[in-house]
Each structure stands twice: as C-alpha cells, then as structure tokens.
Amino acid sequence: MSTIFGIPTPALYGQILIGLINGSFYAMLSLGLAVIFGLLRVINFAHGAQYMLGAFAAYLLLNWLGINYWLALVLAPLVVGVIAVVIERTMLSRLYGIDPLYGLLLTFGLALILEGAFRYWFGAAGQPYAAPSQLSGGVNLGFMYLPIYRGWVVIASLVICIGTWLLIEKTRLGAYLRAATENATLVQAFGVNVPLLLTLTYGLGAALAALAGVLAAPIYQVSPLMGSNLIIIVFAVVVVGGMGSILGAIVTGYVLGVLEGLTKVFYPEASSIVIFVVMAIVLLVRPAGLFGREE
C-alpha cells in the first residue's frame, strides 16, 4: 500500500474528503451568517437552529407527508425562510439601531427554545434520513472509494456558494445589498426600501442554513443539537474569513474544513481545536480577518 509521510494514501484521501464535506457545510453556513451580519449587524445565533430546522423539515416532510428529498431541497428552505421573515418582522427589526448585543441575545434565546422544543418532541438521539436512491452507492475512483452522496454534497455546496456570490456581486439586488451594508440610510434615501431588503436578507440567510440542513440530513443524523454542535466552528470560520466578507466566508469554510481533515491524519489530537488555533492566530495578526476590510 502506498504511503505519504508514512500515512496510507486511502486514509489521507478519505480525510481530505471528510474535510471537504465538513468544509462545504462550514462554507454554506458561514456564508449566510456573513450576509446577515454584513447588512443587519446581527450576529445570528439562531443560524445553527435554522440549519437543524431545515434537516427536520426534510425528515418530517418525508415521514409525515411522503415528500421526497428533491422536493424537500426546495420546500424546507422555503418554510424556514418564511419563519425567519416572521421572526425578523415581529422581533428582530425592533432591535435595529441599538446595541448589537440585543440581537445576539434574541437569536441565542430563539435557538435555545427551538432546540429545546425539538428535543422535547423527538429526543436527543438522531433520526436517520436515507439518501435518495439516485445518490446512494459509490464509485471507485482508483485511488479511493467515493460515496456518491458525498460527492453530490461537495458539488451542490459549491454551486450554492458560487450562486450566492454571483447574486451578491453581479446583480442589482446584490448592489443594493452591498451598498446598504456600507450605508443603509443613504441607500434608503435614494428610494430603496431598505427595511424590506433587511427582511429578505434575513429570510435568505436562514433559507441557506435550512438548505444546508437538508443536504446534511443523510450524512449526519437529524438531531435537535446538530446545529449547535456546528455553529461554534462556523462562527470561528466567519471570524477567520472576516466578519461580513462573503468571499472570505466561502473560501475559509472549505480551507478550514480540509485543514481539519488533514490534522486528523497527521496529528489527530489537535483536530478538534485546529480551527480555533487558526482563529486565535488570525485575530492576533489580522483582527479584521483574512478577507475583511480594516475599518
């Protein structure tokens, strides 16, 4: 069996793949967080819960209504997006313009309530969600065995991230969003309905989290705490990428995912902290993050 630095290559490739998968979720989730933070100046602690809601929505659509994975990919983000819009209109929008800490506390509270409710209803144990038959099985790539569903997740997340990036960088709506991130009052003075833009952005960010949740359901089990396990790492990714930087969130997500995978191969003891070590170093050297603008 061939080895690199004394590590069997299948183990190395396997960990890189796992790193890419984890990185896909880091990227999709930190992307939504970065967009929401950039425009609303809200640190959305409910992001993990919205991801969990997306996975549960897929699970419940399948088990209660018999709605399959492909439809769930559309319906779950829609449902979670609508819930987020209601939350933004009725609660979050009251907190704009005051200390950002209140937005953080509100979303943190919502996350605790949602996770608590789902634990009460479904228990802490995970529920299995089978990958759709079209994506089950795997292929032998010669140097490693690739489960098809995992390859699909990496590709789907790339498409989602690039699509979101194009939406923000290349469209008129994206130009409103970028401008309002810099100076919301002036954009509104130009006649853009900024309150509506804020609502849609929060809804879109939550829908992205839910979409990631549906993609995650067949890989990780659907459990009430799946989001809170992930969200702390995702916050570290956002900090490393630079708060509010879209491209930073995407690139950092994948890179840190792979870095974490490689650490599992070469120095497993450090794999659960490597991302936080990187965060600490970045904060010391470049407090605005790798892609952030110094203010």
Binding site: A179, L186, A189, F190, G191
Partner: protein, 235 residues
C-alpha cells in the same frame, strides 16, 4: 415664473436626540430655481437638507413637494416623491464600481438623464466606469455623486457643499455642470460656504444662523450685501 413653489418648507423644527437644532425654518423653491443656503459651520444648513430629506427623523412642521406632504413618508418614499440627495460626504460606495454607483438609485420618473447623456456630460466617469467607486479622486467622486441623482429623474436636487475640499479647477468644472443643469431646468437647493461659487448659479440666497432663517435675498443683491454677509458668515 409660476407662483406656487415646487418645494415648500414651513415652520420646520428638528432635533438631534434632545437637542433642538432647527427652529421654524421657512423655505420656498420654485420650479427651475437654484436656491443657496449660506451660513457659518453649524448654522443648520446640512441639517436643513437632512431634515427635508427625512434622514433626520425627529421633525415637526410642513414639507411639501408639489403640494404633497413629505413629513409623514418613510425615508425611501421621499426619493420616490422626487427629491434627489447629494450628501456632503458624497456617499460613494466602496463595494460598488463607478457604473454600479451611478445606477444604484432607482429611477423615480422618466425625466432623468440616460446613462449615455451622463457619460457625455462627465467623460471622466465613462473612462473609469469599471473602477471601484472610492478609487476616484475627490472631484470625480463629487461628479459621480451629482451624476447619480441626475439619472433618477428627481424633481429637486439637494446638493450639500459640492465644492468642499476640491481644487479650484475642479470647483470651476462643478460650477459649469451646475450652470448646465440650470439650463436644463433642474431645480436645485444648494448648501455652500463658498458664496463666490454660489453667485454663479444661485437665483436666490437664504441666510441661516443658529438653526433659523435670518434673511433671504435675490442673487443679484449679493454684491451689495457683502458687508452684511461678512459679518454673519465671519469671513
């Protein structure tokens, strides 16, 4: 000249937090007029523009555009009613290129200039249309800030100190642009410290002091009133 003003401000009071900054400001602008607010720093000129625009929210009084009351409108409806705002700090967005900055404000009527006309009027902006907005020189940023509201078809343009901090040759160029806009029948409310610049374009002057309108006079009286102005403006 028609008698009913296009923009009418009556008894406008405004507050920054608890501090009362505008005291019963009255102001009329007729269609096609250029009116200039003069006053020292802190006299309330910029505040008057911000209060008319609705950026400063704590206000009382009457602000009417073609008879329509603007005071109760949410901020984004004020632009849609026909006011175009060019802020003192210019407000060019760093994350947008020149062309995106130019086309950012939604059009509010079909009377605005086309992008082609704007690029003819400001050839520099055309050359730099793909540059990041804030990479432009101060003068170019000012041109962009003015060009941006010309596209929307706003009826009245609120222009806050367009010459501030710019070289004389650029000030000259901006003066030419304002003369050109006047020829096209644009209605302009200008805040300006440099009244020699304002003299070229203003039909009337208002003089502000401590958040109040203390005087107003037609443009041709400027020279005769120099002594009075020097006293009030402290220049």
């Amino acid at each position: 000249m028609s008698s009913a003003p296009l923009l009418e401000v009556r008894g406008l009071n405004a507050w920054y937090g608890e501090s009362h900054v505008l005291h019963g400001v009255d102001l009329d602008i007729r269609e096609g007029e250029t009116v200039t607010l003069l006053g020292r720093n802190g006299a309330g000129k910029t505040t008057t523009l911000r209060a008319i625009m609705g950026i400063l929210r704590r206000r009382e009084g009457v602000i009417r555009l073609r008879g329509k009351n603007l005071l109760s409108l949410p901020l984004h409806k004020v632009a849609q009613a026909g006011l175009g705002y060019v802020p003192e700090e210019r407000g060019i967005f760093a994350s947008l290129n020149v062309s995106e900055n130019l086309t950012l404000p939604p059009t509010v009527s079909d009377s605005g200039m086309s992008v082609e006309e704007i690029y003819t009027l400001f050839p520099n902006l055309y050359e730099r249309r793909s540059s990041q907005g804030t990479k432009l020189s101060g003068g170019e940023q000012q041109m962009l800030a003015i060009a941006r509201v010309l596209r929307t078809g706003a009826k009245v343009i609120l222009l806050d100190e367009p010459t501030e901090g710019l070289a004389p040759v650029i000030v000259q160029r901006i003066g030419d642009v304002l003369v050109e806009l006047k020829k096209r029948g644009m209605t302009i409310l200008l805040v300006e410290q440099n009244f020699r610049f304002a003299k070229k374009v203003a039909d009337r002057f208002y003089l502000m002091e401590d958040g109040r309108m203390v005087n107003s006079f037609p443009g041709h009286e400027l020279d005769a009133r120099m002594d009075e102005l020097h006293e009030v403006l402290g220049v």
